[in-house]
Amino acid sequence: MFNKFKPYLIVLISLVSLFFIIIFSSGSEMIILDPKGPVGAVQKDLIMLSIYYMLGIMVVVLSFFTVILLKYRSSKKDSDYKPEMHGSTKLEIIWTLIPVLIVIALSIPNTKALYELREAPKATAHKDPIVIHATAADWKWIFSYPEEGIETVNYVNVPEDHPILFKVTAADSMASFWVPQIGGQIYGMPGMVNDLYLQADEPGTYDGRNSNFTGEGMTHQKFDFVALEEEKYREWVKDSQENEPKLTEETYEKLMLPDTVDEMTFSSTHLAFVDHGKNSEYAMAIREKYGVEASSHGADKEAKSSHGNHGDHGDMEDHDNHEEHGDMKEHEGHDDEEHKDHENNEGHEH
């Protein structure tokens, strides 16, 4: 009896699980399909276009599939059976040409979009883009505003409705700069600079991160992408220029060590000491100077077990740069205050 019902049971299980997947997925926000800027919008349109085409293909193939399986199963004796049938030139040409047409239909908007994304968004092309250098270092994001003379760590403030030209690079591992709701990513690589235009259409704080694997701290290599109203942004720039400390070379060197840090703000940029787009050795030289190695297996096993996720923390403290490392902690504490300032700016005043 069980055998008789099994096919129906299986179909039922499949449908129920599909149902649950749909229900639960509606609970999660598909932020890529809800872009807040022109770059993300171009990408979303392209994605939706491809989804429609692909759903079309799936409906056609799955219908054929279902009908054929039901009609020609061996238990159904009356079906016609043609064991020698081995091809049909006409059919084969048809199902070669249709995918060719679909590939062409998708390639054209794709190529258009690729060229479009290389330039500043059209709607605001009349405004001069703000240039921000985004540098990935294990495991933090450093943003330099060369024209404004400000540098931030792990957050970036931008004005809304204004094209931003990110010049993305990295100090060490290859990272990927990604703000899902604003627009797609680009690699930051040591010794190279990649351009990425982004723009936010409405004020808000959006999640940005590194999506390329860079080792132990990669999961926490995130930043806030904060879009402010034009005026608030100007005030924040002015305020930072006047009230934030200068970035000393020593502080910057500490940022090159593999560790996660809190948000920071400075009133000068690291471009005075180093251009990571040209110098890929800088971070390595600094690690050598401080005697720091990235996470390792054998050497810091005990450290790992006692420190949990901060295995290499232990590793660093084992070295003679103990005190310097302590210094860095103080910096972090200091920066916590700055972080508050930054929040104040954002929240109150105007």
Binding site: M54, F65, R73, S107, M189
Partner: protein, 654 residues
């Protein structure tokens, strides 16, 4: 020496400690059993030194199943970690090691050997050959794969696993990962890669040179065709891997600067070289899978394969395209719009030949008499699931959209939909289908269907939500996430599905045991009323010389037409047997591969004396082989009496 072991043996992690203990007990158990039953000699003579392609194939498949278990446990550990936000089940470092070994093992030590195993068992039979072209080399291929795999897996308990992802990107793998983990990756892959390259050469020559009379290229079964194309891809792609791995090994061990950040090294070069091999590698595992499905669908739809020639043309097209799309693995590297467009189009173009194949399979089912055996169910389920993998592949191929998908769960879902629905389903289907040829009995169909439903439903429940997770911005390779990200519900579902797949796998393992005990023994060689020559041997398990008479091929689906013909003309007249020349067993490959392992281990820990001694040993083996190959290769003749006995088992009693 003692300090060295003490420093590197991993004992502080309870999960790994448990594994250590179970490994020790398993090894003691195996050694004790073999000694008690006095099986050492049998193991050495009948298996380890065997050059019989069927036995080598079986050893490949057993190794692959063990690796599937290992890689599957890795997968379940990851799913367990990601089930709830802010989980502290695994640390970041441990998670990184697990996804690295999961990826590497599943592609290189599970999928590939599984398919190489099936090729070894089936292809010489399908073309009516007595063995592969180079039997000695075949044994060497297997053992170097095996010792490479053992070396790679040792990292888990001794010294620490690699942790830079299966793509092992520089500079993370050089500057960001001290310790022996990455060395294990480099040398384990290098040693097993030698085996794969040799197999590629072996199968190209076997298929080109050793076909039975009458078997023209356009009469070859589809699985043989896919094997031939795959072997060609291996021959062209694997040297790239060999060189790339060697360069990074030099960087790490000898202080060269090919991929480093300092002294003019170029990390991007690694990505290019890796994917220049890595993309064809994906087709090395998917094309034989297509061949397996073609065989099974034709057999159980009881029809000739639809569009045989267009199947072959599309195979060749796919293999060509597989070499010119590698840049789609890093559209985000900042290439110009023109470069990204070109690689987008070439990537999407792969959908065209693949689409032709899908429609041809549907055409094969059309107007057939479809029997839903377990092998057929895996093959039929492949079509809609692989379709999902295929269409999402086209979506990923659009570079401008890929800026959003890159490195997120949409990608993870996509490649699992192609690799599991394509390769793993094919491995299971092929295993069930050719099981009687290997072991003389079928696998239980009822248990097999349970396994199928658990695994395939579990698979969809596991990976379908991951497409949505991709759209929700969840990046791959993160070891945890926060509740505010909103990814929890879908991750829970995904983990449930993963455990469903685990249950499915365990049912398959149980089925092996159950069928061994209870299944009806197959007497004829033709368990499924097959269409191709591997079913034409006299007995369920073919004798070591395969065919007493070399079959003569008059058309595609050779065996099907032979059966038709003998039905019409009655029994064929008896023809006398002739002695058959067979190659002799060889112990050198095992010893040589063992030395590769020892040398590899020496290099991993920079124990130069060990590496140098092993290298001398390897050269010794080569010299021995060169000087005495005329004796080793003398082989032996299977006598007419022995053939008569084997071919007519009833005479044996008399």
């Amino acid at each position: 020496m003692f300090d060295f072991i003490k420093d590197n043996l991993i004992l502080n992690d309870p999960l790994i400690l448990g594994a250590n203990i179970s490994i020790v007990f398993t090894v003691i158990g195996i050694v004790a059993t073999l000694t008690y039953f006095k099986k050492w000699k049998w193991l050495w003579n009948d298996w380890i030194t065997s050059v019989d392609h069927k036995k080598i194939g079986i050893m490949y498949i057993i190794a692959a199943l063990i690796m599937l278990f290992r890689g599957g446990v890795d997968a379940l550990l990851m799913r367990a970690q990601l089930t709830v936000p802010n989980n502290e089940f695994l640390s970041s470092q441990h998670y990184n090691e697990i996804f690295t070994t999961h990826g590497t093992i599943m592609i290189l030590f599970m999928a590939m050997p599984f398919l190489l195993g099936l090729m070894n068992v089936v292809v010489p039979l399908q073309i009516g050959a007595r063995d592969v072209a180079f039997p000695f080399l075949n044994n060497l291929s297997f053992w170097s794969f095996m010792f490479g795999a053992i070396l790679f897996n040792m990292s888990f308990v001794f010294g620490g696993s690699p942790d830079a992802g299966w793509t092992n990107y520089a500079p993370l793998a050089i500057e960001g990962s001290p310790g022996p983990g990455i060395n294990y990756y480099l040398l384990g892959l290098q040693i097993s890669g030698i085996g794969t390259l040799l197999t590629g050469i072996n199968f190209v020559v076997t298929i080109i040179k050793m076909r039975a009379p009458g078997m023209t290229l356009l009469r070859m079964p589809m699985f043989t065709w896919t094997t031939l194309i795959t072997a060609f891809i291996i021959v062209f792609a694997f040297p790239i891997l060999t060189v790339t791995l060697a360069l990074m090994t030099f960087d790490r061990l000898f202080g060269t600067h090919f991929f480093t950040l300092t002294d003019g090294g170029n990390p991007m070069l690694w990505s290019n070289l890796f994917w220049l091999w890595g993309h064809p590698e994906v087709y090395i595992v998917i094309l034989p899978a297509f061949g397996i499905f073609s065989e099974i669908i034709a057999t159980f739809a009881r029809k000739t394969l639809f569009g045989y020639k267009s199947m072959i043309i599309s195979l060749v097209a796919i293999s060509g395209l597989s070499f010119v799309v590698w840049v789609h693995h890093f559209f985000t590297m900042g290439g110009s719009a023109a470069v990204n467009s070109v690689f987008s189009i070439s990537t999407m173009a792969i959908a065209i030949p693949t689409g032709i194949k899908i429609f041809n399979w549907l055409g094969t089912l059309y107007k057939g008499r479809i029997e839903f055996t377990v092998a057929m169910m895996w093959s039929v389920a492949f079509i809609p699931t692989f379709l999902i993998g295929g269409v999402t592949g086209v979506m990923l191929g659009m570079a401008a959209a890929d800026f959003q998908y890159h490195n997120n769960y949409f990608l993870v879902a996509h490649f699992h939909y192609t690799l599991i629905a394509g390769v793993v389903f094919a491995c299971f289907a092929g295993l069930v289908y050719w099981y009687p040829k290997m072991f003389g009995h079928k696998m239980n169909e009822r248990i097999g269907k349970w396994a199928f439903w658990f695994f395939s439903i579990g698979f969809n429940v596991c990976f379908l939500p991951q497409f949505v997770l991709g759209f929700s911005g969840m990046p791959r390779r993160v070891y945890t996430y926060g509740p505010e990200d909103g990814w929890t519900a879908l991750n829970v579902i995904s983990s449930v599905g993963a455990f469903g797949m685990g249950v499915g796998f365990m049912i398959i393992v149980y089925n092996v045991y159950y069928s061994y005990r209870f299944a009806k023994r197959e007497l004829s060689g033709d368990a499924w009323d097959g269409r191709t020559l591997e079913w034409a041997t006299s007995s369920a398990i073919p004798p070591h010389y395969n065919f007493a008479h070399v079959p003569e091929v008059k058309s595609a689906d050779a065996f099907y037409y032979m059966k038709q013909e003998s039905k019409e003309s009655g029994k064929p007249e008896k023809v006398g047997y002739k002695p058959i020349h067979m190659p002799s067993n060889a112990g050198t490959p095992f010893i040589m591969s063992g030395l590769f392992f020892v040398g590899g281990f020496g290099l991993v820990f920079e124990l130069w004396w060990m590496a140098i001694l092993a290298l001398i040993g390897i050269f010794g083996c080569m010299a021995y082989r060169s000087l005495f190959s005329h004796k080793q290769d003398a082989g032996y003749y299977v006598s007419v009496e022995e053939i008569e006995k084997t071919e007519n088992p009833y005479k044996r009693e008399a």
